[in-house]
Structures are given as C-alpha cells and as structure tokens.
Amino acid sequence: MELDPLLLSRLQFAFVVLFHAIFPVFTIGLASYIALLHGLFYKTKNPAWDRLALFWTKVFAVVFGMGVVSGIVMSFQFGTNWSNFAQATSNFMGPVLSYEVLTAFFLEAGFLGVLLFGRHKVPEGAHLFAALMVALGTFISAFWILSANSWMQTPVGYELVDGRFHITSWTDAIFNPSFRYRFAHMVMASFLTGGFVVAGVSAWFLLRKRDVPANKKALSMCLWLLLILTPAQAVVGDFHGLNTLEHQPTKVAAMEANWETDSGVPLLLFALPDGDAQTNHWEVSIPRLASLILTHDLDGTVPGLKEAPADEQPPVFIVFWSFRIMVGLGLAMIAVALAGLVLRRGGRVYSQPLYLKTLVGMIGAPFVAVLAGWVVTESGRAPWLVQGVMTHAEGLTPSLTGAMALFSLIGYMAVYAVVFLVGIYYLTRVVKNGMLPDPDEVDDGMGSAKRPFSAAHTPFDDHDLQGAKS
C-alpha cells in the first residue's frame, strides 16, 4: 500500500492538536477557579479556601507543565508538514501565533512563578493579583489561538497577492465572523471541564470522608457553576451553529448528515452516513426537528451536502458521529447538574453515594466532549484548510513523503504516550496525597526550579515517600 503523506499528516496534526488540547482546556478553567479560591480566602480568611487553593495549584502546575511540553511541538508542525500553508498564510498566522507565545511568556515569566512559589514571599494581595493574572493569561492565550483557528474557518480582512495572504485589516482578520462564537464556546467548555474535574475529585474525597468541610464547599460551588453553565453552553452552541450555518453550510449539512437541501428537515437520532453512496443507512429521525433547531423555524431550509461536489464534502460519518457524541455528553452534563439541584434538599448531594460516584465518572466527559467538538469543527472544514481558499492538499509540504510522515507520526505517538502515562500516573499520586498538610510544602525559592512540576512536591514513587520522611 502506498503511504499517503496527506492522510498521515492530517492524522498527525489531529493527534498532536487533540493531545495538546486536553491540557489547556483544563488549565483555562482551573486557573480561574484558583483565582476565585484565592479571592475567597483573601476576603473571608477561611483556611478551607486556602487549602483548596493550594491543592488545586499543585494539580494546575503538573497539567500546565504537560501542556507546555506538548505545545512546543505544535509551533513546529505548521512548518514541517504544512509548509505551503505556513508560507501562504504567514502574514497572518506568524504574528498571531507569535503574539500567543509572547503573551504566554508574559504570564509564565511574571506571574506563574509568583503564584507557584511566592506564597510566603509576597503580600497576600500580590499573590491574589498573580493568580488573577495567570487566569487572564490563559484567556489571552486562548484568544490568539482561537482567532487563528477561526480565521481559517471564516477568513476575512485579506487580499491574495501571488497566492499569499496579505492582511488589509487586522481588526477584521483577528475578530473574524466566527471568532466570538468559537471563543465563547471554547471558554465555556474550559469552565465546564474545570468544573467537572473539581466536582469529581471533591466527590471522590467525600466518598472517602477526607477533608469533608473543604470538599463540601468545593462541590457546592462547582454544582452551582455547572447548573448555570451547562444549559448556557447549549445556548452558546446553538448560536455558534447558526453562525456556522451562515458561513460553512456544508459543515452543518455533515453534522446533520443531510444530503439534499430541503425544508422541514428531520433530526437524525441514528444513521450510518455513506459518503460513497451519498446517502444514509438505518435512519431514525424526528420530523422537522433539524429545521427547528438550525433555523428556529419548523419549515426552515437546511442546506444539503450535495450542494458541494463529492470531493469537496467533509468525512460525513466522522463529523456526524462526533457531533452526536459532543451533544450527547452535553445533555448528560445538564442532567447531572440538574440532579445536583434536586439532591441539594437535605444535603443529599454530599452523601448520596450513587450521585457522588456519578460525578467521579463524569470527570472524563467534558474532555471527550471537547475533543469530539474539535473533530467536528476541524473535520467539518475538510477538504478546506482555509475555508474556500486553500485545501489540505494545497497546504501540504511538497517534499514530504509518506514514510517521513509515518515515521514522525509513530514517533510523536510514542513520545506522547510516555509523557502522558508518566504525567497521569504522577497526577493521580498528587490527587491521592490530597490536601493533608504537607511537610515538604515549605519552599525557600532557592535551588528548586521555577517550573510548574516543582510546585508539586509529591514524590514520584513510594520508596521515595519513605526516603523523604526519614
């Protein structure tokens, strides 16, 4: 079989970006949560907030470190596998991605160090300020990345000169038509991720009766947040969908596996879309519902996939099912949040074992939903790399061979597998160590690296734990 560099490069990019996305989607939400905890402690002086802040800062440190490591690869991917794309779009992508690095550096250099290592070195107010700045930094980072991605989906503010994009309006290009929906959807997804992880871990502690007062507070906060955010995210997602319908109708058609442009289109609950046959098998549907959802009108017209020639259609099966996974998990999240509201009566929310176990089980849900969402939006754009202007094939590095792409794909998977397994193993140790007062917590700021992981003093193996105590 001939190795296809295009397919392998797409797989590689998908793998690297999805692997990387796990970390920032968590740290964006968690950074705000930590800032909130610091704020609550600053105001109330209740030590429970401080202990929670300390514990979650340790988790943040490890996850942030893994995000940085996996992110370095991203900045080289454009050049190695998509050099034609890099060259054509460099006038926009170069400055935007550079600004992401520059602002991320600001965050790391100025404030992350203070947040992680400055507890006893700077006044409480300054420490709180550092926590706020770290949270702000994660938003600024997300701002640039989503601006770059949105521009690829809905490119404006440029003119093409000799096949290269020249920016005519930075404002138009950065704040392109789909940017605000994408940014809002992503930021809320980050908050949901942070919320479900904190809720799940708090529930896990409550099941084991550890640090009950502090974890009750944490769980209660999270559930209020989730009660508001889960339905709000559905609304934002709906607006995002309307925007996509306007600018990328083929993507919406793929999400709904709708082949013919029609009015009063049914919502498919189940189907096996078949791109070769240009039709679906085994459809189960609710009449007119897709029209209602997408156009807010029972008789609204929904565009069909066949508006685009077969070779300009996205992989319908993948987009259709990824979209259903995302929406299904979203509905499950709403249900869990509502159940929490019901169980609040009589405080059962803190003691009902089934509910607590459900919350533990839901820790992975927002991650899967986010990854599925990225697959929808990225695969749904296929075959376009820059919507309507440049295809994947045109953006590919011309000198790239299938063997090279395969070698690096396997290589990155191996490297990341090690990083991920070690990181997750270590993270579970940090969590299991919990919030108990840690004798190693005292930090003189000398000698230890001013680096994320160094803020988590949990030893790596059991043998070591004894060694440290002796």
Partner: protein, 332 residues
C-alpha cells in the same frame, strides 16, 4: 521611512539564535557530560545548577520559531521541511530531557531512568542542532520558494561533523559553567575535562574551516578573494580559546565560562559573515524571505515590548540563583 524593518528583524532573529545557543548550550552540555560525571552527587550538582534556568533558556527557541514564521516565512517553510527528521529528533530529545528535569528529583527508585532520559535527550537534541548548522552551511535545494530535496539531505558526512562539533562545543560550555557553579571534587573533575573538550572543539573547528570552502563556493570567495575585516572573528575566537586554556590552568572560576561564551559568539559572527545577507542558502536573502511589511511592523510592536522583559526576567533569575550549587539544594 528610512529604517529597514527587515534588517531590524534579521537582528532580532540573529540575536535570538545566539541567545538560545549560548544559554541552552551549557545546560544541554551538562546532559552530554552526565554519564561521565564521577558520582551521583556530582550529577545532583550538575542538574541543580541549571534547574532554575533551563526552561527560561528554551523560551528563546520558541520565540525564535514563532518569530521566524512571522518575519521570515520563506526560511521557516524551507528549513522545517528540509530538516523534518532532525526537527523531530530535536523535539523528542528536548521533551524527554524536560520531563526528566521534573521527575528525577522526585524519584529515587527509578532515578537511573531519568538520568538516561536527561543524557540521551540532550545528546540527540544537540546532535540535531549541530547537523542543522551544517545543513545551513551546505544550503538547500529550493525551486520556486519550495524545498525540493529529500528527507536525509541534511545528513551528510559534513553535517555529522558539525553535529559532533556542537556536542563538543556544548560540552565545553557545560564544563566551564560547572567550574563556575561547583566546588570540591565536582569542580576538580570539571577542571580536568575542560582542556580535553577545548582541544576537541578546536579540532572540529579546524576541520570545518577547511571543509566549508569546499562545500560552498560563495563562502570561499568571501573569505579568500581578498583580506576582509571578517578575519577579525576567527582571530578573536582563537584569542578566547587561548585565554580559556590559560584560565583553566590558573584555576580561575569565572573566566573559563566567559571565554567559552566568547569562543561561541565569535564563531557565530564568523558564520554569519560568511553568509550575510543570505538567509536561505544558496539563493535567498533576508529581503527575499521577509513577510509583508505590515506584518513585520504589527509583530514588532509586541516584540520590542517583550524582549526587554525577557532579558530583565532572565537576568533577575540568574541573579537570584547566583553562587555555588550544593548537591542537596534541589531536593526537599
């Protein structure tokens, strides 16, 4: 506007590259020397001496990569495909090295694995970087602004020499850094290996100096057609080498490192002088490779703001962690 913004960007990228080479150079060098260290205590000292600063050092690589895309996209979109396998090896090496920094001190039972990750990560990353330098001197087959060579064009006998040469060079930087930061038997060891590393570097230096004119006609023309001011760079590099040797013999603590930095800086300036203003050898100058002026200006606004902050923060970190390092500093 009289100011040529492309020149400004060439200066920024050039500055970023040498900052990266000098700063990540000595901590990669320690990784290369790692297996030869006399004992585990010395390894603790070696790692502790760079633990607080290595991450800041690598920031220059990320800034350089993103800046290159923003300011000289042609260079970015030729170098990365041409160096595809090398870039992968470098990133994999840096990742393994990065996580071993974090986990070695937290691990006792598995510490030898993290030692290995630190060493091999450093070796692979350094060799790949050195081979990149060689590939740059060689030049790239480019047609219509697109790289048209093969996956292993970057790996030739010449680039193997430059790869090994950079390993020796980084090891020299690492050893002189260790003289500055350590004491006792670790420092004695560093004093002992430094002259040997210096001879290795000078040997490679000689080979490359003789070989480069054979690899590149333009370089031969520039250096040999008539006597230029550029000869001052290799002469100053030799002066630094001699001073380094003397300083080690006199057991000076700070000067060997400074002289090793000087050796690197003048060699680097010499290399730039060989190629300027070509950024994608053999054909494209910095002006050919530049992005649109409005993009360069837009990016410059943020960069002039951040680089002083990076420099100030870096200086401050080095100041905080000044002085000798002890073996048990890093482990609480």
């Amino acid at each position: 506007m009289n100011l040529d913004i492309t020149l400004v960007w060439a200066g920024i990228i050039g500055f970023g590259v040498i900052m990266y080479v000098l700063m990540d150079g000595f901590d990669l060098g320690l990784g290369i020397l790692y297996p030869f260290a006399p004992d585990e205590t010395s390894r603790d000292v070696m790692m502790n001496s760079v633990a607080p600063v290595w991450d800041g050092n690598e920031t220059w690589l990320v800034l350089g990569g993103a800046g290159l895309l923003g300011a000289f996209p042609l260079a970015y979109s030729v170098f990365l495909p041409a160096l595809y396998i090398g870039v992968f090896l470098m990133l994999a090496g840096l990742i393994f090295r990065g996580i071993s920094f974090e986990f070695r001190f937290k691990s006792r039972k598995n510490r030898h694995w993290w030692n290995r990750a630190f060493c091999w990560g450093s070796v692979v990353a350094t060799f790949a970087q050195g081979a990149v330098v060689g590939a740059y001197i060689q030049g790239f087959p480019v047609e219509d602004k697109i790289f048209v060579g093969g996956a292993f064009d970057w790996l030739t006998p010449f680039t193997v020499i430059t790869g090994l040469g950079l390993m020796a060079g980084y090891a020299l930087l690492g050893a002189t850094w260790l003289i500055l930061k350590s004491e006792g038997h670790t420092q004695d060891w560093a004093y002992a290996i430094t002259p040997r590393l210096l001879w290795a570097v000078l040997g490679v230096f000689a080979i490359i100096s003789l070989w480069t004119p054979l690899v590149s006609v333009d370089v031969r023309e520039r250096w040999l057609s008539h006597i230029h001011l550029i000869w001052v760079f290799p002469i100053l590099a030799m002066v630094c080498a001699a001073a380094l040797y003397r300083a080690v013999k006199q057991r000076e603590e700070g000067r060997p490192f400074i002289m090793a930095l000087g050796l690197f800086i003048f060699t680097y300036l010499g290399m730039i002088a060989s190629k300027w203003p070509v950024i994608v050898p053999p054909d494209y100058t910095v002006w050919d490779a530049a992005s649109a002026p409005e993009s360069q200006v837009f990016l410059l606004i943020g960069t002039v703001f951040v680089i002083p902050v990076v420099l100030a923060y870096t200086t401050w970190t080095y100041w905080v962690f000044r002085g000798k390092v002890k073996a048990d500093d890093g482990y609480h």
